[in-house]
């Protein structure tokens, strides 16, 4: 594709070999997790660290994990959390991104800096006052309460602003001449052309909220509203779980499974959307 760049791989084979070695090293914790989850003796012992399965694989750890945890419920709650967060985010960031990208208005710069400020203050840092706010709003111990602080995303707003700005204005002008309103332009011209940006943001948002732990841990008390990460810790720290590595590995793989499958299936689109969305 870029033959001029071949010089980067000047000693091409050497670079490839080095990278393969580095990547193997990088993958060991993950590979170990896979091996450990199928190991019959999952409580430790000297050979436990071996990356090469020298045993008859068993599904015992998976069976215990399924029996010990309320996985369907946790999956459901995490799924509600992730989709509920993303759905609102997509609306707010598209609207705000559009205003910042295409309209000039008094105070735009100041508002932009105000948004920038939020980018640097991740919600977990404001955990104490945000819990107080949730109590006042009657959202404490609800999934809505876990979602709400993320509904206005400065990161997403920037990303959409960036993405909209890469689209030539001619497209919109043509639509406006045909009598389209601003929201028709947004809905039928800008958003379809911004799919890479929307996809990249959705991936970042879903991965973040699927794996988030501290904030849901603090907001939720009711076991019926527990999400996957909190569930994993509660059962991994249970009586026997604390040193049952097979069980912990199996549970962690459960949580990862949907992200893992989605990533493997859409790998190309994923990397492409990241690269062409102007995430920089």
């Amino acid at each position: 594709m870029r033959p001029e760049l071949k010089q980067w791989a000047a000693p091409g084979a050497l670079l490839a070999a080095t990278m393969c070695a580095v990547v193997f090293l990088w993958s060991t914790p993950f590979l170990w997790m896979l091996v450990a989850s199928f190991r019959p003796d999952s409580f430790g012992g000297l050979g436990m660290a071996s990356l090469f399965p020298d045993f008859v694989p068993t599904l015992k750890s998976y069976r215990y994990a399924i029996e010990d945890g309320d996985w369907p419920l946790w999956f459901l709650n995490s799924a509600i959390l992730v989709t509920g967060t993303l759905a609102v985010q997509l609306v707010t960031i598209s609207l705000a991104g559009y205003a910042f990208a295409r309209i000039s208005f008094p105070g735009k710069e100041a508002l932009f800096y105000l948004f920038l400020l939020q980018l640097m203050l991740a919600p977990p840092v404001l955990i104490v006052p945000n819990l107080t706010t949730l109590v006042h709003l009657g959202l404490y111990d609800t999934l809505i309460g876990v979602m709400a602080p993320y509904w206005g995303s400065a990161f997403g707003t920037f990303l959409m602003r960036q993405t909209f700005r890469t689209i030539p204005k001619d497209f919109e002008e043509a639509a406006i001449i045909d009598g389209a309103t601003w929201w028709q332009v947004l809905r039928h011209v800008l958003l379809p052309l911004s799919l890479p940006g929307l996809t990249a943001f959705s991936i970042v948002s879903v991965v973040y909220h699927w794996n988030e732990f501290l904030w849901p841990l603090m907001v939720i008390n009711d076991p019926d509203k527990m999400v996957l990460t909190v569930g994993l810790v509660s059962f991994a720290q249970g009586a026997e779980g604390a040193s049952d590595w097979g069980l912990i590995a199996a549970g962690t793989l459960f949580i990862m499974a949907p992200l893992f499958i989605a990533f493997t299936a859409f790998q190309r689109q994923f990397v492409n959307s990241f690269m062409s969305s102007g995430v920089k």
């Binding site: 914790p29 012992g45 404001l126 810790v233």
Partner: protein, 299 residues
């Protein structure tokens, strides 16, 4: 008084952009700007838990935490942790992107393998890394022993525990940052590199004089998100060490979490939050400024 010109000026300011910003802004106000104010006000009181009124005590909480070994330790630990996670994970992310920038089948597989740690939930990774760092039987010691090195109690040794957490963070984040650099590298114009090559620049010179300056904005962005994550992620501390041994892994957010939810001292928790926010803003601002100065924008 209602002159035509006044009406005209009023009409010129259209409401539409403000309405478009409103939903996002409402959320940011409720969960960022308003709490910042609240946290500052609460830090001046002796509130004990959520719902308490508390009375005004001025700077007392600040004086307390700044003379307290636990807080100063957490501040120092977090500074050390930030430096020790941001630098290696950003550099590795950059090197990975550089090595795998060409799209081949092999590089696609290697990229995925490097990216996978990003998908592992931090609490899961933390639980797994407890085993990685176990003395004797753990993954690290097991293979180090084969190289003839002796057993180390990674998480139990105050000098090594925080470094062990840094290793976990670097492992988890470098692949994520690699994606941003891969995106950035696509924006480096071919002819600039080509021109440098014709001028006789070797690969190291091209890297330093062409690629790195062009990637200024990417570096600035990635460093800032890495800094933010160094202050706002605490799952691994909760799962692996609970701040120990001997407070060696007590990070700012863990300190805040403990003060608020274990020791019920909101005054101290909020004062620590204000200090954390100030540090975070200063560092983000400084890194953006420094990096932007080195940027060479295309015109």
């Amino acid at each position: 008084m209602d002159t035509p010109s006044a009406t005209k000026t009023f009409r010129k300011i259209r409401l539409q952009p403000y309405l478009l910003l409103l939903p996002a802004f409402l959320c940011l106000t409720t969960f960022t700007y308003w709490p910042m104010l609240q946290v500052f006000l609460a830090s001046l009181t002796n509130k004990k838990r959520v719902g308490d009124d508390g009375s005004f005590v001025g700077a007392e909480n600040y004086l307390t935490i700044f003379t307290e070994a636990d807080f100063l330790g957490a501040l120092w630990n977090n500074a050390f942790y930030a430096a020790g996670t941001v630098i290696p994970s950003v550099l590795l992310g950059f090197l990975f992107a550089l090595a795998l920038r060409e799209t081949t089948n092999l590089s696609a597989i290697l990229r995925s393998a490097l990216f996978f740690p990003t998908l592992v939930p931090l609490v899961g990774a933390a639980a797994i890394f407890i085993f990685v760092f176990m003395p004797d039987i753990g993954l690290l010691d097991y293979y180090l022993a084969k190289l003839g090195l002796s057993a180390t109690n990674w998480l139990g040794n105050p000098d090594l525990a925080l470094v062990s957490l840094m290793a976990l963070t670097t492992w988890k984040n470098a692949g994520y940052y690699m994606l941003f650099f891969l995106a950035g590298l696509q924006g480096v114009p071919q002819d600039a590199e080509e021109a440098a090559k014709i001028e006789g620049a070797n690969w190291l010179q091209r890297l330093y004089f062409v690629i790195v300056p062009m990637l200024g904005p990417t570096f600035a962005f990635v460093v800032v998100i890495a800094l933010i994550s160094a202050v706002s992620q605490v799952d691994h501390v909760i799962v692996m060490t609970e701040g120990g041994p001997n407070n060696a892994t007590n990070l700012l957010l863990y300190y805040i979490y403990q003060q608020a939810h274990e020791f019920y001292d909101l005054g101290k928790a909020t004062a620590a939050t204000v200090v954390t926010l100030a540090a975070l803003l200063t560092l983000s601002f400084l890194s953006l400024r420094t990096m932007e100065r080195k940027v060479h924008y295309e015109t």
